[in-house]
Every structure is written in C-alpha cells, then in structure tokens.
C-alpha cells in the first residue's frame, strides 16, 4: 500500500534447532504507516520483541527467519546485504530498548556514545557533532545537557538514561522508531514523562513508532493502531479505538478486562 513505511508479511521465526524447530513467530502480518504509532502488544513470550529485532536483523544466533518479507519503503530488509542493513540501522530505522543499566556501554561517556551515531551516519565536523549532541539531549527534555553528556551511564538516573537513549536513537533522523518496552523498568511518574516525550517527538519529527509493549495504558494513550500478538500469531489488528474498546478475540478481551480494574 502506498504511504506504508513498514510492511511485515507472513513472518515466521523459529529456533535454530534442527531437531525441534519451535516457532516463536508464526505468520505475523503488520503494517506501520507514515507518521503513525502502531502498538504491538502481547504477554511475555508472545514473540513481540523477536518481531521487533528481526526488522533490523538483530536476531540472536539461536533464532532464524524461516519465511516472510519485511518491506521497508519498498526494500525487503530480510534479503538486504549486511552493509545495507548497517546503513539503515540508526539512520532510517532506530531502536530503543527497555532500560536496564546495561543499555549504554558503561565505559564510555553518554556524549561520546551519542556522537558515535553522528560520526557514522552524518558528515558533521567535530564541533558540530558536539553541538548537535547537546541539542539532542535538550530536545528529549534534559535540562543540563552539558553535565549529562560528560557523565558515565552509571552516574545518571534511570529516567535520564532512557531520555538519553531516545536522543541517541533520533540523532540521525530515522523515519521509524522501534520502541521495545521503553518504560517497563521505570517507575510510574517517569513512565508518563517518557510517553509524553515519545508523543511529542513523533509529532515534531514526523516519525512513525512501532511500540512494543505489554502496558495497555501506553496503548490507550498513544497508539493509532494496535496489533495483538498471542502465541506467535497476530490475533487481532485494527485501529486502537476498535481493538481496545471492542475487542473481538478472546485473548484481547481478557487483556482489556484485566486492565480495566
């Protein structure tokens, strides 16, 4: 379809074990349109993170894609060369992960890690890079970008780190942001802030977001469309309003029920 940024067709991912090739993802179809926020929800083990990782070709060695296509702007990512994938990662599609301390490299400063994206994907000069890094940190709501840029990851709070990670992700101006459980390790107030930040960025930078989450609050608040993943298959898919308030599938109904206390 025109206007589609990302189009996943019939994706099957299985364990790399010849004896028992267990399917983690079993025939997933998903579309992310331009400037849309699509939520991919499901319980743990439903395959949502695996789907997210497969888009950028970041599956662990124990898993492999068996079937399917992932079309990004007309290009099939699954058949792209390693070089092409590297070009795309960070520059056209970026990913933000759940925030344990280890998401940033502990021995490099935040600023340096941010600038790394700029070094690889842009041709900015040193001073420009530094300025841009500070600018990015400011954009994600960090009030003291100079101090944060000079800090090591362990010196920042969880919320700051997550903001910095988002800054790192949007640094090269990607069109699609994959956010894998971006707030699951933060406390409730921070969750709200990060959600607001993502919404703001989406509107300002005109990007699409694939939001992988099990938090239905986020879904209700942010998503344009929702895909519900259960046992490796998409069991329900449609506009957020419809899925949340008028769920068709039994599992979706259970999910929504559980959340309605």
């Amino acid at each position: 379809m025109a206007g589609d940024l990302l189009n996943i067709q019939n994706l099957v991912i299985a364990v790399n074990d010849a004896e028992r090739p267990q399917k983690i993802v079993d025939g997933v179809n998903l579309t992310v349109g331009e400037q849309k926020i699509v939520a991919l929800v499901g319980g743990s083990g439903s395959g949502k993170t695996t789907t997210g990782l497969s888009i950028l070709g970041l599956l662990p060695m124990s898993l492999a894609v068996r079937q399917g296509e992932i079309m990004f702007r007309g290009e099939n990512l699954l058949t792209a060369s390693a070089r092409r994938l590297q070009e795309i990662r960070g520059k056209e599609i970026a990913m933000v992960f759940q925030e344990p301390l280890n998401a940033f490299n502990p021995v490099f400063r935040i600023g340096d890690q941010l600038e790394e994206v700029l070094i690889i994907h842009t041709s900015l000069a040193v001073q420009q890079r530094k300025a841009r890094a500070l600018e990015l940190l400011h954009t994600v709501g960090i009030s003291d970008p100079v101090r944060v840029a000079r800090s090591y990851p362990h010196q920042l709070s969880g919320g700051m780190r997550q903001r910095a990670m988002i800054a790192q992700a949007i640094a090269a101006g990607p069109k699609l942001l994959i956010a894998d459980e971006p707030t699951s390790s933060l406390d409730v107030t921070l969750q709200a802030h990060i959600m607001e930040l993502l919404k703001k960025l989406q509107a300002e930078l005109k990007i699409s977001i694939l939001l992988i989450t099990h938090d239905l609050g986020m879904v209700k608040h942010m998503a344009d469309e929702v895909a519900v993943l259960f046992g490796g298959k998409v069991v329900e898919y449609g506009p957020a309003e419809a899925v949340v308030h008028h769920p068709q599938h039994a599992f979706t109904r259970q999910l929504m029920e559980a959340f309605r206390y």
Partner: protein
C-alpha cells in the same frame, strides 16, 4: 585513589618483614657453621672473613643476627657472595635486569598473541577455529615447561637457526647496536616461547570467555542497532569491556613470571635471578640465597601492587565512586 595505594603499601611492609624473617630462619637451618668451610677456602682473605663475622654478629643468637642483617639490608649492605667472590649487590642488579628483560618479553609476547586469539575464538565461537584453539589451549596449559624447553632445544639443535642458550653470543661486543638487539632477540626466542605458552593458553581462554560474556550484553545490541559497523562493535565496544577484568591479571602475571621464569632460565642458561639462585643454593651461598629470595618476594609484591593500581584506574565505575 592515592589513599588506596598508600594503604596497600602499608599492608605490604609487615609482610615483607615476615618473609625476610622466614628466609633468615631457613638459612639458619642450613647445617654446619657456614663460616667454618669458608675459613678453609684460601680464596677468601682472613680480613674479609673477620669483617663479615663482625658485621653479622655470628656469635649472637640467630634472632639477633636477623636484626643485624635487617639493619645492614636497609643500609643496602647486602652481604658477600662466597661463591662468586664479590659483594652480593654487584651480582643482583645485573641478574635482576636480565630476568626483568625475559619477563617483559614474555609478557609482551603473551598478551599480543593471546588477546587476538581470544577475540578470534569468541567471534568464531564453536566453529573449527574455536575448537582448534581450545584444544591448543588445553595442551599448552598441560605441557610441562621444562619438557617444552628441552624439546625446543632439541629441535633447534637439529635445524640450527637459533642459539642454544645463554644471553649473548661470543662476538657480542663487536656488533653494531642493531646487531646487538638482534642477538638479544635471538637468544630470547626460546625461553620467551617456553614461558609464554602456558600463559597464552590461559589468557586466551579467559579473553574468549570475557568476550562471549560481553557480546551477550545489552549495550552490544544497542551498538549494532545504532548502525555501527561490526568491527567497531567488536574492537571498540566489546573489547574495551572484555579487557577490563584482565587488567588485574596483567599485574599478577608480571609477578608470577618473575618466579616462574626461574626453571626455564636454568634450562636455557639464561643468566637471570633464577639461575643465580640455583647456583647459590647448590653452593650454599647463604647471603646470596637470602637476598635473591627477598628480591623475588619484593618483585611479586610490586606486581600485585601494580595490579591493584591498574584495576583502580581502568574501571570508571570504581574511579568515580569515591
């Protein structure tokens, strides 16, 4: 961090004293009055003997003798070697230097071979490279160093490309400075290789383990997701973290080398501290033995101290937490 270092040094000093006491005690257990046999030796003048008898207060109980020896030690009066017929101080510095050269060469060789091999094995995990290296490591760890030394000397004796021991060739003094360096390297080759094999085997396994551990981490996934080329992911992000735990090892290895090199020195006729120790022991050259042992202990301590300092420096998590 200066406080940390100071504390470590303070702890080390009483240990050194204890060790010197132990050494002295052992020497006292050497049967027979050492000086009696010396008096029979026509090469040593009566004046020298009288001087040293007075210096070491040999008529007093051994504990007192120890304190006198210690006092002399602190004034750098290291005693007299009866076998070589010169004061110990003259001998020690030369031999110490030679052992140090050998240790340094082994250290450099070990690390420049083991680290790349470890990285290679980790990146090609479970493929044939990894399996071959794993087997090689196991053999390297198990082979007795003296056996390897003898085998190598045998091989060299058949093919004649390297000298068969010692540190300098006969015509050393006539060589240009470049020639001298080449000569040194050729003599270093076998002992260095023998000493390094075990260390390379161990270090390679550790490096591989560390790399595998690091490559599992979240930040490696982030680095790849950023679009970094693979070589940058491995050699900048992964390596820097994998090497961290090895820094302490570096110091310990230095101190371990100094002791472990002794046997290889002896077999390859390398004129270092270890081979001197052997000659001293065979000749029951008391003060030489004791000073050598003390030297060995000091070097070990310095190595450990270096390891602790390096650890404190390298990891920003430790550095910035004070």
């Amino acid at each position: 961090m200066a406080k940390y270092i100071l504390k470590r040094i303070l702890v080390a000093i009483p240990l050194l004293f204890a060790m010197s006491l132990l050494t002295f005690f052992l020497m006292q257990m050497t049967p027979g009055n050492f000086f009696d046999s010396l008096k029979l030796n026509p090469q040593i003048s009566p004046e020298t003997i009288a001087r040293y008898e007075k210096l070491y207060h040999l008529d007093k109980p051994w504990l007192e003798q120890y304190f006198y020896w210690l006092g002399n030690l602190l004034r750098f009066e290291l005693g007299y070697s009866f076998f070589y017929n010169v004061p110990v101080a003259e001998l020690i510095s030369g031999r110490l230097w030679n052992t140090f050269i050998l240790s340094l060469a082994s250290l450099l060789f070990t690390w420049s071979v083991a680290l790349p091999l470890g990285i290679w094995a980790a990146v090609r995990r479970n493929q044939w490279v990894d399996r071959v290296l794993s087997l090689g490591s196991f053999i390297g760890l198990s082979i007795p160093s003296f056996f390897l030394a003898i085998l190598l000397l045998y091989a060299v004796s058949q093919w004649g490309i390297l000298p068969l021991g010692g540190m300098r060739s006969a015509g050393y003094d006539d060589l240009s400075w470049f020639g001298k360096i080449m000569d040194l390297l050729r003599h270093l080759a076998i002992p260095t290789l023998v000493i390094s094999v075990g260390s390379i085997a161990a270090l390679q396994r550790i490096m591989r383990g560390n790399m595998l551990e690091v490559l599992r981490q979240q930040y490696i996934l982030t680095a790849r997701a950023k679009g970094l080329p693979e070589h940058r992911v491995i050699y900048r992000h992964a390596l820097r973290n994998a090497v961290n735990p090895l820094i302490t090892l570096f110091g310990y290895e230095l101190s371990g080398l100094l002791g472990g090199a002794a046997l290889t020195e002896i077999i390859c006729s390398w004129p270092g501290l270890g081979s001197m120790m052997l000659t001293a022991v065979r000749a029951k050259d008391v003060y030489l033995v004791m000073t050598s042992m003390l030297m060995g202990g000091i070097l070990l301590l310095l190595g450990n101290l270096l390891a602790d300092i390096l650890l404190a420096c390298s990891d920003p998590r430790i550095r910035y937490d004070e």
